[in-house]
């Protein structure tokens, strides 16, 4: 992973970076400093983000339920891809067990709502807490491993978590699945319906993008990139690499667990194999890698593009859709190994648009 140049990873310092570094001392100074530091050049991503958010809100009134459902799933994957990018992209620890947090979040909400009649809004923070606690618990020993070893250990942790949920039949219903009561007086929280979940996942996606953007431009974000580029050197310049890795893992887990909680409520009824499905993890990785890891726009573009593409193929190609989807992944990996967004950005900067040169970069 360290072969990626520092140029492509270094986030541009913004006003938030100063604040998080503690340069602006007084509270008033902090706020004024932030406003003063805003220029058209550095505030356009935030403005563009706001515009997109507003456009998505407006769009909801125009589209039919089927499209609404599709966009809801796109938002879900935007959140998941951003979460994976924090630990896998910025910090360089490719977790193949993120789905564990998704499943734990989903089951926390379902068990609390079903067995204990807790409202969804009370269960949600607990689900996030469970995800974070599990992340810290497995992160402390596992984040000492590097490369493939970390990937496999997290994969094992996710499989193990699924098996535990699967076998705690008295609490979770085991392999028979679990159902969240949503109708009548049984329901602790009334069901959101399609429009409600559209909003919920839109907000979740927006929050995850903002968290990733703020994190990337903070002192902590630089520490994550430093750990990615060279962990020993990062330790040598005084970064507590253990804290950085565990916190990055925890933040990522929090977002994923939150997504899992909403997903559980949306699905109403599900099985351990649904919410611990390793293909969620694989999709997160693919979306980040194909979009371009270590940036905020990359995973966003990857998640939106891939989810829309896979849906398009499913509708139009029938049985062949997975075959073509796989072939497209292969081609994108071969032609844009650094991710599509990263390729476009670097090509724009250097005016080198040749795709063949791009292929030659990593060829043997």
């Amino acid at each position: 992973m360290s072969s990626r140049g520092p140029l492509s990873a270094a986030p541009t310092p913004g006003p938030m970076a100063d604040i998080l570094r503690g340069r602006a001392r007084s509270r008033q100074g902090l706020f004024v400093g932030w406003i003063r530091a805003l220029t058209p050049a550095n505030s356009w991503p935030a403005l563009a983000g706001l515009l997109v958010f507003a456009a998505m809100l407006a769009l909801q009134q125009l589209i039919e339920p089927g499209t609404q459902r599709l966009l809801t799933s796109v938002f879900l994957f935007v959140a998941l891809a951003q979460a994976w990018n924090i630990i896998g992209g910025y910090t360089g620890y490719a977790s193949f067990g993120q789905v564990a947090f998704f499943g734990l979040g989903a089951y926390t909400v379902a068990v609390l709502m079903n067995n204990y009649h807790v409202s969804f809004w009370a269960a949600l923070p607990l689900a996030v807490l469970v995800g974070v606690v599990f992340a810290v618990a497995i992160g402390l020993p596992l984040l000492r491993l590097r490369g493939h070893y970390f990937a496999i250990a997290t994969l094992g942790a996710a499989e193990g978590a699924r098996e535990v949920i699967n076998n705690l039949t008295s609490v979770t219903g085991g392999g028979g699945g679990i159902t969240i009561p949503t109708f009548g007086s049984d329901a602790p929280t009334p069901y959101f319906g399609k429009p409600g979940f559209y909003l919920a996942f839109l907000v979740l996606a927006a929050v995850s993008v903002v968290v990733a953007a703020v994190l990337a431009r903070s002192r902590f974000g630089y520490a994550m990139v430093a750990v990615h580029e060279d962990e020993d050197a990062a330790g040598a310049v005084g970064i507590n690499t253990t804290v950085v890795k565990v916190v990055a893992f925890g933040v990522s887990a929090a977002i994923v667990a939150c997504a899992g909680a909403f997903y559980a409520f949306q699905q109403i009824e599900f099985y351990p194999t649904d919410v611990f499905d390793a293909s969620f993890t694989v999709l997160m990785v693919i979306m980040v890698m194909i979009g371009g890891s270590g940036s905020v726009v990359g995973p966003l573009a990857g998640a939106v593009g891939l989810q829309l593409l896979s849906q398009f193929l499913r509708v139009n190609l029938g049985n062949f859709n997975q075959l073509i989807f796989g072939a497209i992944i292969v081609l994108v990996v071969v032609f844009f190994p650094q991710g599509v967004v990263t390729y476009l950005r670097d090509a724009w900067r250097t005016r080198q648009f040749s795709i063949l040169d791009n292929v030659r970069r990593y060829r043997l």
């Binding site: 992973m1 072969s3 990626r4 896998g88 490719a94 497995i138 020993p141 596992l142 000492r144 491993l145 490369g147 493939h148 070893y149 990937a151 496999i152 250990a153 994969l155 094992g156 942790a157 499989e159 193990g160 098996e163 535990v164 699967n166 076998n167 039949t169 085991g174 390793a278 694989v282 990785v285 693919i286 890698m289 194909i290 049985n319 062949f320 997975q322 075959l323 989807f325 796989g326 072939a327 497209i328 992944i329 292969v330 990996v333 071969v334 190994p337 650094q338 292929v359 970069r361 990593y362 060829r363 043997l364």
Partner: protein, 295 residues
């Protein structure tokens, strides 16, 4: 007690087979630093080749092995030469992503060709068994286990005694130096992947003979097993893969006897994680090659 012995015997023969599944995976990982997500798919492809030969021409699966091995070797060689070599210097997870895409293509191709039904290669002897005391040993599984042992030993000899094996080993240790010595790394990588694919195909044929397979659930399970076994055994270590396979096979069959439900899977994962934390180089010795990526 007899129940215990029976489970242990089953674990041993199953473990040998699992070792054969993992040895190619471990070789590719150790030499090229590529985690081959499509390993299980290659095994199932081999199983289909043998199945077609059996159904169409009535060829015995054990006799079909050379055909399967040659077909899969050719396929693996082309895939590595034409595809994986293109991104071999990229960050490690790109090759994983590439093999994941390949996995999707192969599996869905197979599914379109052969449907998603469970298949098995029927032979007159595979399900017959003989008894040692109170323990029943099925002929098919025993033969598969011996074949796995033989192939593993042959591969280990290939790696340690032949020029080709030394070239593979050298390329795995230091590609830059190996190329300076006149080793054609592109070709060696392709041969390595071809060997791994052929071994996977043979393992798939054996699985089809002693049990059943399908293109939807079997490949993922095999890839995951190969993962676990390679880590237990140490990467690029032929005998390590066999030991890892035996450990997993015995642990799973004894666990299945002692524990209810699927707790055994949770235990297997716990063992995997603890092994990784305590001995990342595997249970026996050091990994032969530390996967390095150089020019």
């Amino acid at each position: 007690m007899s129940q215990f012995l029976q489970a242990a015997a089953y674990g041993v023969v199953q473990g040998g087979l699992l070792g054969l599944v993992a040895v190619g995976f471990s070789l590719v990982w150790g030499v090229m630093n590529v985690v081959n997500f499509s390993h299980g798919a290659l095994a199932v492809t081999g199983a289909y080749v043998a199945w077609v030969l059996n159904v169409r021409f009535g060829l015995d699966p054990f006799l079909a092995i050379p055909v399967v091995a040659i077909a899969l070797f050719a396929f693996g060689y082309v895939v590595q030469r034409g595809l994986i070599n293109l991104v071999i210097n990229a960050p490690i997870f790109l090759t994983l992503l590439l093999t994941f895409g390949l996995n999707l293509v192969i599996l869905n191709g197979l599914q379109l060709l052969f449907k998603a039904d469970d298949r098995t290669i029927d032979t007159s002897y595979a399900s017959q068994s003989f008894a040692i005391g109170a323990v029943n040993v099925p002929y098919g599984r025993l033969a598969a286990c011996f074949l796995a042992l033989g192939i593993t030993v042959a591969l280990a000899l290939l790696m340690s005694r032949t020029r080709l094996g030394h070239a593979i080993g050298a390329t795995g240790m230091d590609r830059g130096a190996a190329r300076l010595m006149g080793i054609r790394a592109r070709h060696i990588y392709a041969v390595t992947f071809g060997i791994a694919a052929a071994l996977a195909g043979v393992a798939g044929t054996m699985i089809a003979t002693v049990g059943s397979f399908n293109p939807t659930t079997t490949p993922g399970q095999l890839t995951l097993d190969a993962f676990v076994i390679s880590v237990l055994g140490g990467l690029g270590n032929m005998y390590g893969a066999l030991v890892g396979g035996l450990v997993l096979g015995i642990a799973e069959s004894l666990g299945g006897l002692l524990l209810t439900g699927t707790w055994v899977n949770a235990i297997a994962m716990a063992v995997l994680i603890v092994t990784l934390i305590i001995r990342p180089s595997g249970l026996i010795g050091k990994a032969l090659y530390s996967g390095r990526v150089e020019v």
